[in-house]
Amino acid sequence: MSNKEIFKTLVSSEKNNTIERNRERIKNRAYLRESQAIAMKVLDKLDELGWSQVKFAKEMCVTPQQITKIVSGKENLTIETQIKIQNILDIPILASYYETKKDVLSELILKTEKKYSPFETVNDDNLISNYQPGKLMKLDYNNLSNEYTVYQSAM
């Protein structure tokens, strides 16, 4: 008997699904990568907050085992779970995170513009009467000194 033949007598006949599992990992790669990225964000934030996974489980109203699954980066997380993570940890997971932030920011910008809008106090009728001239300046480039010479108009 050759070495290989002797070796084969030692091999168990039990079935294993290694190829199948490997194929599943490749097939699910897109969601697994997303899940891994979420797990990294969650673990970073937990470190930043000084939270244990048990505390996070309590905040999420789930079991610590479920948190273990989330931070392993192997779970196909439901949208509901993603929203919960996003809201509790205030980390960007879904596009809605930025959209909400954008809405708040837009509202703030609008309010600011409204408050300081220069057009608000100027009516078409009294446009000329309200006109306040600024300082006029002229910049001339001097080739010798490589500098601009400033001429200011008299006010």
Partner: protein, 180 residues
């Protein structure tokens, strides 16, 4: 310990793996390839491993190892379907090893930058049995407790095969010379 054929379903007789009992228990864990792949795709495990080993940029370390694991998965799938021999992945653990050596200690390495190692024994051409694996953290296996432990495992596995009459050709030839 026991051995299973991990390519059995589609390309039998090429890639095997040892299965070990959990320490202090009577039952077996999953085979070494599956066990390692479970660990190497676990963000929390990789992060803790990086921190424990004082890696400077832990998140980058995690990303790199996840990528390495994907590369191994792809190569394994490729090796099942193509005529490429397993020698395409495994190479002698000892870089100075010359010639054919049965039960040679082997390491699986996808690329030069691969940070993951699968260890195996070569039974024959295109025939290997995985004994374990580890994240490569030091140049020499002896210099890190995990790789050092893998070195012990691979030697134990080799002894097991020798005890069961799977010859190491080198010792066989040594025996012939001694008896001359």
């Amino acid at each position: 310990m026991k051995i299973v054929d991990i390519f059995a379903e589609e390309s039998p007789g090429r890639l095997f793996s040892f299965v070990y009992k959990i320490e202090g228990k009577t039952y077996y864990q999953i085979n070494e390839y599956d066990r390692l792949m479970e660990l190497w795709t676990d963000v929390s495990y990789l992060r803790q491993y990086g921190k424990k080993n004082k890696v400077e940029n832990v998140n980058q370390f995690v990303k790199d190892r996840l990528q390495d694991a994907e590369n191994i998965q792809d190569l394994l799938e490729e090796l099942i379907h193509t005529s490429k021999p397993l020698e395409h992945y495994f190479q002698a653990l000892n870089n100075n090893e010359i010639g054919v050596k049965i039960l040679s200690l082997q390491k699986g390495k996808v690329s030069k930058n691969d940070g993951l190692r699968i260890y195996a024994l070569k039974i024959d051409a295109d025939c290997f049995v995985i004994t374990g694996g580890a994240i490569k953290m030091s140049l020499l296996m002896e210099n890190h407790p995990d790789t050092n432990n893998e070195l012990i495992k691979i030697k134990k596995a080799k002894d097991y095969l020798k005890e069961n009459s799977v010859f190491d050709s080198e010792s066989f030839y040594e025996f012939l010379i001694e008896t001359k």
